[in-house]
Symmetry: C2
Subunit: 554 residues, 2 copies
């Protein structure tokens, strides 16, 4: 079994920094510190892969090494399928992962192709090589909890607690995000190995031995207003209903209920009631058991969502955290599964209307100092943005780097390109030891159509219109991003989403500056455009403020 680690330092393996960036980032995605299951090329989110198989992975690296500055490499569901003549201002890599014609866009068909080696699930940043481990999601989770606190508790989480489940690739960010937001948290996870990983990387503080101890700890820390995170081993579909029963009977009540098990993937992502982890893992490998697994997981999700609905009925803020669990429960017979909202309309959309989203960057040097210098630069560039200052301080203190040192921080239209250009200057001047790679999650303002998550309950009802992410990808390709990707099914599973990725390299050159100035504006602006078109006043105001040219918005 291989052990992958991206090269560090300023020595090139490829012919340019742009291709070198892709070369390092695909490897970084599979670094054991970063990936959930690097042996199987799985980066995160169930079976989200960086490449289709090892032969494809090897050839991607080989092709990137040889790629010229006027060529583009095409990746089709993790397989390098062609190298074509383009030009220096075009992306070096163009990626399409997991896309199926709608009528065939379901897990059965996906699995059939996947089994034959003809396909791959790219999730969001897994197949587009800009996953940076749990920090990538922690800022989003933090923003979500902070916004929830603002809406429900006057911005003050002190003495309050969150209950959730799932400590996987993305869900593992929840306990730390809760802590950073000032809340106590109870985190249910069915695999001890996942809990261990989060304890080791300091994302969760401690583990309770059972529910009673967990609740005692919650109470203890809430009383002392200590934002401590607690892990609890068990099945959320059993523990959450028990919690709801106790709450109804006058027991302690959480202040926010959510969930990040991988309910979007019922074969690989959700442990059903009555199964142990070993049986579950074995069944994942044994196709003949899949039907039963899916049926049992669906039933358990229904029970799980029923408990969430019970909390919702008690007046406790309850949100779906983008794992499609409401849809699964709905399909499993829970007719009012959508009574509680998704986290996006509840807490994220106002940010998207300003073009704000999960801006992130990685130091190709491998040197943490490069990131600390960019942290300082961000503070210098945006002296009045107190939330960002607070975030950067806490991130530096509490978040261990995984793989290449990276940082994430939600910036909006008018901010991202300023940051990108400044980083490019720092590379040019030698202040940083090597170029910086800039990207974002596919969950961003202009890059996703996902009616059960990012585009749930759009003001004009265009939740399912996926012209927008396609235009986003075309625009970023036209603008000269370094690599651009179009994915299907990320986060919420086959059939439920289409989304686009974008990565751009600040290599210190003037050409890079020109491209950064275009792409980092357009990428955000296309999100403001999308929300303005849907009729959000704040997006229209933002577009006007920034002088966007939106021909039909008068």
């Amino acid at each position: 079994s291989r052990s992958i680690r991206a090269p560090r330092g300023s020595q090139l393996s490829c012919k340019s920094w742009v291709t070198e960036a892709a070369y390092r980032m695909i490897q970084n995605n599979l670094d054991a510190e970063v990936a959930e299951n690097p042996k199987h090329l799985v980066v995160y989110g169930g079976i989200g892969r960086a490449a289709r198989d090892w032969a494809c992975y090897d050839q991607i690296l080989a092709s990137l090494k040889e790629l010229n500055d006027d060529e583009s490499l095409l990746i089709q569901s993790g397989k390098p399928v062609g190298v074509f003549k383009t030009h220096p201002d075009a992306p070096r890599v163009l990626i399409a992962n997991s896309n199926l014609v709608p009528k065939w866009a379901n897990w059965e068909h996906f699995n059939e192709l996947d089994r034959k080696g003809l396909f791959m699930y790219g999730q969001m940043t897994a197949g587009s090589w800009i996953y940076i481990g749990s920090q990538g999601i922690i800022q989003g989770t933090y923003e979500t909890f902070v916004e929830a606190g603002r809406q429900h508790f006057n911005g003050d989480w002190a003495g309050r607690w969150i209950v959730t489940a799932g400590l996987g690739g993305m869900g593992g960010a929840q306990p730390l995000a809760a802590t950073l937001a000032g809340a106590v948290s109870l985190n249910i996870e069915c695999q001890q190995s996942s809990i261990d990983f989060r304890l080791r990387t300091r994302y969760v503080d401690k583990q309770a031995k059972d529910l009673d101890e967990a609740l005692a700890m919650v109470q203890h820390h809430c009383e002392r207003k200590e934002a401590v995170s607690i892990a609890l081993l068990g099945n959320a579909a059993e523990i959450l209903p028990e919690l709801a029963r106790r709450a109804k009977a006058g027991g302690v009540k959480p202040d926010l209920v959510t969930d990040q098990t991988s309910a979007h993937d019922l074969v690989n992502g959700y442990l059903p009631i009555g199964w142990n982890v070993d049986q579950w893992k074995a069944a994942q490998q044994d196709e003949s058991q899949h039907a039963r697994l899916v049926a049992d997981a669906t039933k358990s999700c229904a029970v799980h969502v029923q408990a969430m609905l019970d909390f919702h009925a008690m007046g406790i803020p309850t949100v779906d955290y983008g794992n499609n669990i409401r849809q699964v429960a709905f399909d499993g017979g829970v007719k009012n599964a959508f009574d509680f909202p998704g986290f996006v309309p509840a807490y994220i959309r106002p940010l998207f209307c300003d073009g704000k989203g999960p801006f992130r960057w990685v130091a190709l040097s491998g040197d943490p100092e490069d990131i600390y210098k960019t942290d300082a630069k961000i503070k210098e560039l945006f002296p009045d943005n107190k939330p960002v200052h607070h975030w950067l301080d806490m991130a530096r203190e509490r978040i261990a780097f995984q793989g290449l040192p990276a940082r994430i921080c939600w910036l909006g239209l008018g901010e991202r390109h300023i940051a990108g250009l400044a980083f490019n200057e720092m590379v040019k001047s030698g202040e940083l030891k090597a170029p910086i790679v800039i990207g974002r999650d596919h969950l961003d303002t202009g890059s996703v159509a996902s009616p059960n998550r990012e585009t749930e309950a759009m003001k004009d009802g265009t939740d399912a219109v996926s012209d927008w992410p396609l235009l986003n990808a075309l625009l970023n390709t036209a603008g000269g991003a370094s690599w651009v990707s179009l994915h299907h099914g990320g986060g919420v599973g086959m059939g439920y989403s289409q989304h686009a990725g974008m990565v751009i390299v600040a290599d210190g050159s003037d050409q890079a500056a020109t491209r950064l100035g275009r792409v980092l504006v357009n990428d955000c602006a296309s999100g403001v455009m999308r929300h303005a078109d849907a009729g959000y006043e704040s997006a229209i105001a933002c577009a006007k403020h920034h002088g966007l040219k939106l021909p039909m918005i008068k």
Copy 2:
């Protein structure tokens, strides 16, 4: 009501010939000579529109007039939504039409959005402004009939006949294509106005007053080996079963059976048995009748396909001509609807493996002489390509131009860019009066995933994988096509296809030459790549012959 006609001549309305080309081509798509229903912005294929509504149309023209050489205009389902900073080598227009997240990709949801003015059906070349009237499809139909003749009748159609239905935007090309291929044809159409239009433009030779007269005419012309085309007013779902009954009872038998009614759109495209045309048109406008219309049309399609199956069972070559009628019949209970093949695997795929497909171009001058000069140039460039010479001679003789003079001719990898570069030279030298616009149908080798049509029965079973058209669009954007589009649902309806369009302008400049040299190679090559990846030997050989860089093909 407006009367639209693209400007002619060498005077610019826009700031460059690239934007001028888009400006003229959207208008040309809505020229009364070209469009099926210009009053409603409908170009062809049921409700395939060029723009969402008149306000959007006007603003598209206004935006194109102002567009700078370093800007790109974004079109979202026929609406101009944004103008962004890009660069001269990037496309000037980026288009995404009718795309829906798969789970919502059905006519019900489409109609709901369309009704609210939030969406548009772009078909293939309607919403991407490169429809050129029936000539656009005639070459494809001709290629199909010629290949069928090659496979079944030793290349000789003399004394043989084809029965089909539908004389609409695309189907109207059938009688003329049959004639050019040397066959007699019987063409059933339920609207007298459609027949009149085809008689007027010389696409169909004569009309029979009833079935008996039609069959007498067929027999008469078959005996004399005269390739005459005959129209018959009536409902195909009634006439075809009657024909099959007579054939079974020892009557005359056709030599090829196909159909081009708009069965892909059951509200607007297929007249059910028992309805007259007036009732049908009224019901299309009256939403409360849609459910009944769809139900009745489905039943009629089932009857219609059953007749086709009967012919198939008699050993008569029978093909679905890309209108989804087998799927409709299947959904309507005809379990063996897919017993007869689609025309693509039957006759087109071998051409696709060589990168051959519907290459087309338009003279922006409006002068037919410009097209005749390009016809001559093609003959000069490809002296040994006899089929193309034959086609060009017949096309000039028999095909009336509609709107701006245009030509289509199937060329492949290694040919298209030679043609494009030659045209660009002719513009540069002043031999042509104005620039030439070069494009193609979305039905092309590398640009479509449509499991019931273009990608039916792919060798490796990847019919539904739509990574390929998405990559095609990204690659053409990266290469610098003039406009690029991504559509969903063209031809076969919502849920059944994803496809990409590409148009590039030969304005005589050196920059255009550079872009043409890249884009016209890449666009074809991506189709050869797709077929090579699926394991077609001839595509692999073609890729090797042309030195394509396909990393995983050893």
